[in-house]
């Protein structure tokens, strides 16, 4: 019989010594029961499980027990190691909340190998479309699937395609929008880098459906690896006859080229992206006319986000109905989120629509770092909003997030804990929008700038109550009067933080305090005389000579000289320096 191995891990990071205790317990028990030949125990770095207490995984059977108590050790050795039986009460039912569809190949196949992609079932959907389906049938499948654009707004993909398909024009274009600009979202980059052929396949299918023979990949120049891999994929596809004339022996011909972005967030907006490809400033144009009517070089054009296109092959292959079986009533399929912020396990996750935010943060993300408590979750990036912790059980879909004042966006999800200041967060996003505003339309250009100024004023402790009204007034005007989606949503971070955390704003304004201790101007460091041992370490470390006193007399902080660097707070061994 193969030797069993017990992998041991304490999934609760606050417990430092417990895993060693268990290690000793298991080792002793194995030795006492003379099972050393049959099994061994090892401690490992991670198991991909979180907040499940002490956990063991027993191979080769792949049995996982979680939440173990000391008394369980004996039982496991007795029943599982010796008796080959599973202990039902402790068994961890592996029910992964993740569902990898778009990411199914990412991390599993070699993105630079067409063969790998083919072996993973690649281009079967294309073959089916080109050789067995009419364009209208593809649209029909899309309609059945309920797929909505993954770039932000969630516009039904079939409608976009169908519009363009119906346009009578000899020239039409397909554009893949790979100008992922949300700070903190990088799923598109991952897909382009990890599985470029799936996006290619999606684009060719899109081209066939709308009757286009030319497509462009618009990729951020900041993603050189993605550009390199996509270019390789295009070259491979050309060589294999998957691009070019008479693809797979059909009558359909299609070619693809890459165009680079050049560092402008607004180019994620469709009309700005088109202007950018045309070699102009990436400023948005009024819609209508919509790109599907008058797009690139005034020709009908569809623009789909990377993730949307990566969904196409599996959707076609499995059929629209199958795709629609996942998700909620109005939001179908899976969504990739870039989970970051104060979450333990940051990274990309793909989940079925309808999963709750709590499940994403805690079951997949492993909860909040340093076991702090969660304050809110920010979704949708600079155009999105915050969702306070009381709504964490909301199922994720386009409508629900919208109701809460946020958006799905491209899928950034950021966990915010009690040490994060919402005024500061709003300021961060506003700064982004101000930097990225194209400057064309007054409400966005000037409104954003004024909002940022007001937020800075508040976080510096100079805020007045009427500033809160001004924030609301400008936010509303920006929403209504800005030309494009960027401007219309740029005030969302302000809107939503005021909506849920107005008290925190008021604390900044009235009490001149930042509850999270983030806004520097509102933090005050103080030395508590009873705790101070007069060691002088703070005195020595202070970069601005703000600490006065001597080893005899003790020390005080001069609030005027203090630059609030926090060094005294960090170096004090006796916790005699306080921050408030």
């Amino acid at each position: 019989m193969q030797k069993k191995i017990i992998y041991l891990k304490d999934t609760d990071s606050t417990q430092q010594d417990r895993v060693n205790d268990f290690y000793t317990l298991f080792s002793n028990e194995l030795r006492d029961t003379n099972l050393i030949e049959q099994a061994s125990v090892v401690r490992i770095a991670d198991m991909g499980l979180y907040e499940k207490g002490v956990a063991v995984k027993i191979l080769p059977e792949n049995i996982v027990y979680t939440g173990l108590k000391n008394t369980d050790v004996k039982k496991i050795i007795e029943e599982t190691i010796k008796g080959n039986k599973v202990i039902k009460e402790s068994l961890y039912e592996k029910k992964s909340k993740q569902m990898r569809a778009v990411l199914k190949n990412c991390g599993y196949i070699d993105p630079e190998s067409l063969e790998d992609y083919l072996a993973a079932g690649g281009y079967k959907a294309l073959a089916k479309v080109l050789l067995e389906m009419k364009p209208e049938q593809v649209v029909e499948e899309l309609k059945k699937s309920g797929l909505r654009g993954r770039g932000g707004a969630g516009y039904p993909t079939w409608m976009k395609w169908n519009f363009a398909r119906g346009m009578n024009s000899p020239e039409k274009y397909v554009i893949c929008n790979g100008d992922e600009g949300d700070p903190g979202a990088y799923m598109d980059r991952s897909v382009l880098e990890g599985d470029p052929h799936s996006v290619l396949e999606g684009m060719i299918i899109a081209g066939y459906t709308i009757g286009s023979s030319k497509g462009y990949f618009y990729i951020r120049a900041e993603y050189p690896l993605a550009v390199e891999r996509v270019q390789k994929a295009i070259d491979q596809a050309v060589e294999a006859g998957l691009l070019g004339n008479n693809i797979l022996g059909s009558n359909y011909s299609f070619e693809l080229e890459i165009r680079l972005g050049a560092g402008a967030f607004v180019c994620g907006e469709e009309t700005a992206l088109i202007a950018s490809i045309e070699g102009k400033r990436g400023t948005p144009h009024p819609r209508p006319p919509y790109p599907s009517v008058k797009g690139l070089w005034e020709k009908p054009t569809i623009i789909n986000n990377v993730e949307t296109l990566a969904n196409i092959p599996q959707l076609i292959f499995g059929g629209g109905a199958k795709f629609a079986s996942i998700g909620t009533e109005k939001s179908k399929g899976t969504k990739v989120f870039a989970l970051t912020g104060k979450v333990k396990n940051s990274g990309l996750v793909e989940v079925p629509m309808g999963i709750t935010i709590r499940e994403i943060i805690f079951d997949i993300g492993g909860g909040i770092l340093n076991n702090r408590s969660i304050k809110a979750v920010q979704t949708g990036g600079p155009s999105g909003g915050v969702i306070p912790q009381e709504f964490l059980d909301t199922p994720v879909d386009y409508e629900n997030l919208g109701k809460l004042g946020s958006i799905m966006g491209s899928g950034g999800m950021i966990a915010i804990d009690e040490t994060d200041c919402l005024v500061d967060l709003a300021k961060f996003y506003l700064k982004f929008c101000v930097d990225e505003s194209c400057g064309k339309c007054a409400p966005c250009r000037l409104g954003g700038y004024q909002l940022l100024h007001l937020l800075e004023k508040i976080s510096e402790g100079k805020g007045e109550m009427e500033d809160l009204d001004k924030l609301k007034k400008i936010s509303y005007a920006m929403q209504k009067a800005s030309l494009c989606g960027l401007g219309q949503s740029a005030s969302n971070p302000v809107f939503s933080t005021i909506r849920y955390f107005e008290e925190e704003y008021k604390k900044h304004i009235i009490e001149k305090k930042c509850p999270a201790g983030k806004c520097k101007a509102l933090i005050y460091f103080k030395i508590l005389p009873p705790k101070c041992k007069k060691c002088g370490l703070c005195f020595k470390n202070c970069p601005s000579a703000a600490i006065l006193g001597s080893r005899e007399a003790g020390y005080v902080i001069d609030p005027i000289k203090c630059v609030k660097c926090g060094l005294c707070f960090d170096v004090c061994k006796f916790k005699a320096v306080t921050k408030e």
């Binding site: 770095a45 991909g48 191979l59 599993y108 993105p111 690896l225 990274g347 990309l348």
Partner: protein, 114 residues
């Protein structure tokens, strides 16, 4: 490469590439590369050759666990499939020696095991 036909696409056995073989995959997306995956990949190739260890070493995309990059997944016959995290050059060599050659796991770097 010759032009692919529909038959080619359908003929390819989806499983044939992975079955029964020993392999190492290195996550080589931007996050991985930023964390040093390219060095790990190069080390693995170079050292495997130097040490006459025959194993298929490949690149792959991002698995999503960005906080523990670089990630190296190792599948050796007879051993569980292991995902190692925070791999550096030295760990890469140890993986070759210990895991691949001597069929022992590097417990301190296991992030997922199946």
């Amino acid at each position: 490469m010759k032009k692919i036909t529909k038959e080619d696409i359908e003929k390819i056995d989806p499983l044939k590439k992975d079955l029964g073989k020993s392999w190492i995959k290195v996550g080589m997306s931007t996050c991985g590369v930023a964390a040093g995956a390219d060095e790990v990949y190069a080390t693995l190739i170079e050292e495997a050759k130097k040490r006459n260890i025959e194993i298929d070493i490949r690149k792959c995309g991002c698995q999503g666990a960005c906080s523990v990059e670089p990630l190296v997944e190792v599948n050796v016959e007879g051993l569980p499939k292991v995902l190692y995290g925070r791999v550096n050059k030295d760990v890469a060599i140890t993986i070759l020696e210990r895991h691949v050659r001597n069929k022992k796991l590097l417990h301190d770097y296991i992030f997922e095991i199946n």
